[in-house]
Subunit: 147 residues, 2 copies
């Protein structure tokens, strides 16, 4: 399932965007929606990879059996999405380059798996080194100092 | 400033949608973006009022001096948005019909004001009574039991 999210991240990079991808699956592994960060491409700061995949999956009544797969640890915005809609499981490609809210999600009953995938780490490490101002903008770090 | 958010909520209701509105202002009170919930109108579960207003404001480097005004206490998804992007202040129309993450935001340094506005309370009370299934869908309550 991470492969789908990773390919979305690569698609975002190819579009000149921030290379983070995500996909939402049902309990049986069927793809419900996939997407990637669109800050640059759409000039839309509200479309993170997870929200894009969530939107692509359309309206649903129950997310408890769904699985959100993302190449990078979800930020507070995307972690809030997971908690509010009761998404049951989150699979995180890596949490080295950014440590978001996945511990908080685990505390609140979400099944969280961090894969520490080398390709995901390499993709974001390179991007953050090359485009730090864009990365900091995407996570709301106004002055370039990560907190 | 609440009037702008309230008018957005009414616009959403007139469109057949969920009547929650929001607006983002700068420190001087200038409007940066306004919007409303679009679950029904756009079939988009990711567009809550706050995310719609945030999107409408476009890309920004620094949200610390901005003020998010919303007719209803922000859910975890929208609270996560506020925290991640460092939005400095949140003004909540009411928190009677739904108690979201505004206490959590206050704990994390966001200036939170709850106005307990009678018009906002009345609007949501009526909507939840008339369309409970739509309301529960919007906050991810799969079985109609609020937790």
């Amino acid at each position: 399932m991470l492969e789908v999210a990773y390919q979305e991240a690569l698609r975002g990079l190819a579009e000149g965007g921030i290379p983070i991808g995500a996909a939402l699956f049902d309990a049986g592994g069927a793809l419900l929606g996939r997407g990637h960060n669109r800050r640059v491409q759409s000039g839309d700061p509200s479309t993170h990879a997870e929200t894009d995949a969530f939107r692509a999956a359309g309206r649903r009544r129950d997310y408890r059996s769904t699985i959100m797969v993302t190449t990078l640890s979800p930020c507070w915005y995307c972690s809030g999405l997971v908690r509010q809609f009761g998404i049951g499981s989150v699979i995180v490609g890596e949490a080295r380059t950014f440590h978001g809210g996945h511990d908080w999600l685990a505390e609140h009953g979400v099944r969280v798996t961090v894969l520490d995938d080398a390709r995901c780490v390499e993709l974001m490490t390179r991007f953050v080194a090359e485009r730090p101002e864009l990365w900091f903008e995407d996570i709301g770090v106004a002055d370039g100092v990560t907190r």
